[in-house]
């Protein structure tokens, strides 16, 4: 009887946020209007060409490509949280798996749109499929990102099937069409042992499958740079350097989302201080790995100081990009590690604030990786206007860069208004399990 009461409370707690309220409508309104402004900027680019952005013949990849790398990076967290932590049986991570998976899905699918905004001829997008050459890393990237999106979608959906059934049963006040969709998506879930077995096995297979694919998407993304012979990109460790950096950005994104859900959706009992403490520790761990790769990436060429490496590194360490470089390294990586080593700093609010620094730092770090290298090619930049030599993003370009960020937030917001953000079925299962053990 008491158990029934408890599980009812849990169910109603976890379903509470699935409704339309004023805050949601206002928030979506603000996001939507800002997004439309950014889309207007993109129509200008479509009409007048990529020249409306600050990119030119020498620095030809700017904000858009930096943004693309950032989006792919953040999306990797889905793999780490659901697959890696799930497979090795880390219990505390399972309530956070869905948040991670929503972020992964939103960022991975928007990454595909970001790359379109960088195309000179978006009308010829289909040529990549019609005339695609398997030798080009771009074709590899499109292939693995598509596979990653599909597996992420399945990894979000399969654990949701029992929850859709719960949504259909409990959300009697929801609009009829919404309940019908829940019913269809629940695929006649009856919680039979056979169904449970199928779902468990499928999730397990997908969780194993997604690990190499996730490594693939960010390694291939790093190869867009590392497969050229430019000083600053010509590096053999770009793959692991990018993947470890991706986990840093992703952990920070999940922590920020956790904080938001905990307070706005009143989930204090489900996303607890313990979760923030654990996530902060995970963030420190992945940041240390990333720091190690940074050390390799800058120290090895820095020791030799070959002609063009030296020009590049001088530019980063003491030149025009020094302020940005040291800010990302110190505020976005070194200081967060130090701060989060202290137990009292691993409370929700400080962890969230640190994560914002980490995430913003991660974005600018992508800019530092993409842009400065192109300002120093092997041959001198001459006989061109000054704006060809030094890259300055334009307002239109900045708006077009913000658009995908808004779109990702819109997708995350909508998803978290229609599906339970904490897996209900799993939470109830875990509630039963220790008792079963106790009865024996």
């Amino acid at each position: 009887m008491l158990d029934q009461l408890k599980s009812d409370t849990i169910t109603s707690d976890l379903l509470r946020h699935i409704r339309l309220n004023k805050a949601f409508i206002i928030w979506m309104g603000v996001l939507g209007i800002s997004f439309l402004v950014c889309i207007y900027a993109y129509t200008i680019q479509l009409r007048d060409g990529l020249g409306v952005a600050g990119i030119r013949d020498y620095v030809s990849w700017g904000l858009y490509i930096s943004n693309f790398v950032f989006f792919v990076a953040v999306s990797l967290i889905g793999m780490l949280m659901t697959a890696v932590l799930g497979l090795i049986g880390i219990k505390w991570a399972s309530p956070l798996a869905r948040i991670a998976e929503i972020i992964a899905l939103a960022f991975a699918s928007v990454a595909g749109l970001v790359i379109i905004s960088d195309m000179g001829r978006p009308d010829r997008l289909l040529y990549v499929f019609i005339h695609g050459r398997v030798q080009s890393p771009i074709v590899w990237d499109i292939t693995v990102v598509t596979i990653y999106i599909i597996i992420s979608l399945l990894l979000l959906y399969l654990p949701l099937i029992p929850d859709f059934k719960i949504c259909y049963d409990k959300l009697e006040k929801a609009p009829k069409i919404q309940r019908t969709i829940y019913k269809i998506l629940s695929l006649n879930w009856n919680n039979t042992p056979e169904q449970q077995k199928i779902i468990k096995n499928s999730i397990r297979v997908l969780a194993i499958l997604i690990i190499p694919v996730a490594f693939g998407i960010h390694t291939v993304t790093s190869w867009l740079f590392a497969n050229t012979s430019r000083a600053g990109w010509d590096s053999t460790i770009f793959g692991p350097y990018f993947v470890s950096g991706a986990f840093v950005a992703g952990c920070a994104a999940v922590i920020i989302a956790m904080y938001f859900y905990r307070y706005n959706y009143k989930l204090k009992d489900y996303i607890t201080d313990m979760h923030f403490d654990k996530m902060a520790k995970l963030l420190v761990l992945v940041s240390l790995v990333y720091l190690y790769f940074n050390l390799n990436e800058f120290m090895v060429p820095g020791y030799k100081m070959k002609k063009f490496d030296a020009i590049h590194l001088n530019e980063l360490f003491t030149g025009a990009h020094a302020l940005l470089f040291w800010s990302t390294q110190l505020l976005g990586l070194v200081l967060p590690i130090i701060i989060l080593l202290f137990k009292q700093m691993r409370k929700p609010l400080p962890v969230m604030v640190v994560s914002i620094f980490v995430l913003v730092g991660a974005w600018f770090k992508r800019y530092i990786i993409v842009v400065p290298t192109q300002e120093h090619p092997y041959l001198p930049i001459q006989n061109v206007p000054l704006n060809f030599k030094f890259y300055t993003p334009t307002l239109i370009e900045i708006l077009i860069t913000i658009a995908p960020i808004l779109l990702a937030i819109i997708i995350i917001t909508i998803l978290s208004k229609v599906i339970p953000i904490i897996p209900i079925h799993e939470t109830l299962e875990e509630l039963e399990e220790p008792e079963k053990v106790g009865n024996k």
Partner: protein, 320 residues
């Protein structure tokens, strides 16, 4: 000739005459048509018929006098030019030699290239750089364009086969295929590629022209442009635009298979291998393994001093 063929049986005179009339008219028309046709065909086959290869690679026979009437749609011409452009010129291996000791930074190569390919002032398939290897070594002028590498990084990374390497050594770009991802710009170590960031210079004037992949005209917004070794001129047996425009005898152009290159200014043809051997020829950034088809002769015994006003710009590149 046909009346005799009719053999009426048991018919009234009226019917007979009627039928005779019909058959007669029919037979006259039919017979003369066959006769004329056979004669016509015989005559035509001998002298007035020609064989024509269509854009779809089909061999058909048409009247010689109709040859002028064959309507080639814009699409057919485009397809033909693209096909021809990808095949290149059989049996040739084009090379260029640039003699740095003769370059005076006259920039006639740049202007002739820009006008031939309808480029903006800031775009130039060839550009003369003020070069300096290190602060202690002398500066010199260096014309630089696409190196037409035998191992081209740009071709490797192109996702849609828009930029390609021809059997005759030329690397071309098909701007009807290019999606504008600019991966080739990122991959090219020679900074030899340019992008049409906005509407091309002669968009209005060129709008009725059929795109020629060997000239890359008309230029298209949102696509790449680069040096083509003047593939259109080479097809006509002429020297490239820049080579012909140089007043100082900097450029040699020719066929590696024939081991002969021709100087664009003096029109003197010399042995390619010997020219390199006698003058210490080298290739730009050979350590990258790109195997360029453009060779340089070192700026030894320059015929023209490096201008003091250009020194600052040459040094700029060496500073971080």
């Amino acid at each position: 000739m046909s009346e005799k063929e009719d053999k009426p049986k048991n018919k009234t005179r009226r019917e007979f005459l009627q039928e005779l009339g019909y058959v007669g008219i029919g037979a006259v028309i039919g017979g003369s048509a066959i006769f004329a046709g056979i004669n016509y065909d015989k005559r035509k086959r001998q002298i007035d018929r020609i064989k024509v290869l269509t854009a779809e690679n089909e061999l058909i026979e048409i009247d010689r006098k109709d040859a002028g009437k064959v309507v080639k749609s814009k699409q057919e011409v485009l397809t033909y030019l693209q096909k021809e452009g990808r095949e290149g010129i059989v049996g040739k291996r084009w090379v260029m030699v640039i003699d740095l000791s003769r370059c005076r930074n006259a920039r006639k190569c740049m202007s002739s290239c820009q006008s031939a390919h309808h480029l903006r002032p800031e775009q130039s398939h060839i550009t003369t750089l003020k070069m300096q290897e290190s602060l202690d070594t002398p500066p010199y002028y260096m014309p630089k364009q696409c190196q037409h590498c035998d191992n081209p990084p740009c071709v490797a990374v192109c996702p849609v086969d828009a930029t390609f390497k021809r059997p005759d050594g030329i690397v071309l770009i098909d701007n009807e295929r290019c999606i504008g991802c600019r991966f080739c710009i990122a991959a090219c170590p020679y900074s030899a590629r340019y992008f049409n960031w906005s509407k091309p210079l002669h968009e209005q004037e060129d709008k009725d022209l059929t795109y020629n992949v060997e000239l890359n005209v008309p230029q298209r917004k949102g696509t790449i442009t680069k040096c083509l070794f003047s593939a259109d001129r080479v097809r006509e047996g002429k020297l490239p635009y820049c080579v012909g425009a140089c007043p100082n005898g900097v450029f040699y152009f020719g066929d590696e298979n024939e081991d002969a290159v021709t100087n664009g200014t003096t029109k003197e043809t010399v042995r390619f291998k010997k020219l390199l051997e006698d003058n210490g020829g080298y290739r730009l950034m050979a350590e990258l393994g790109t195997n360029p088809r453009v060779y340089y002769l070192p700026p030894k015994g320059k015929s023209y001093p490096f201008q003091d006003k250009d020194r600052e710009e040459a040094e700029e590149h060496l500073k971080g």
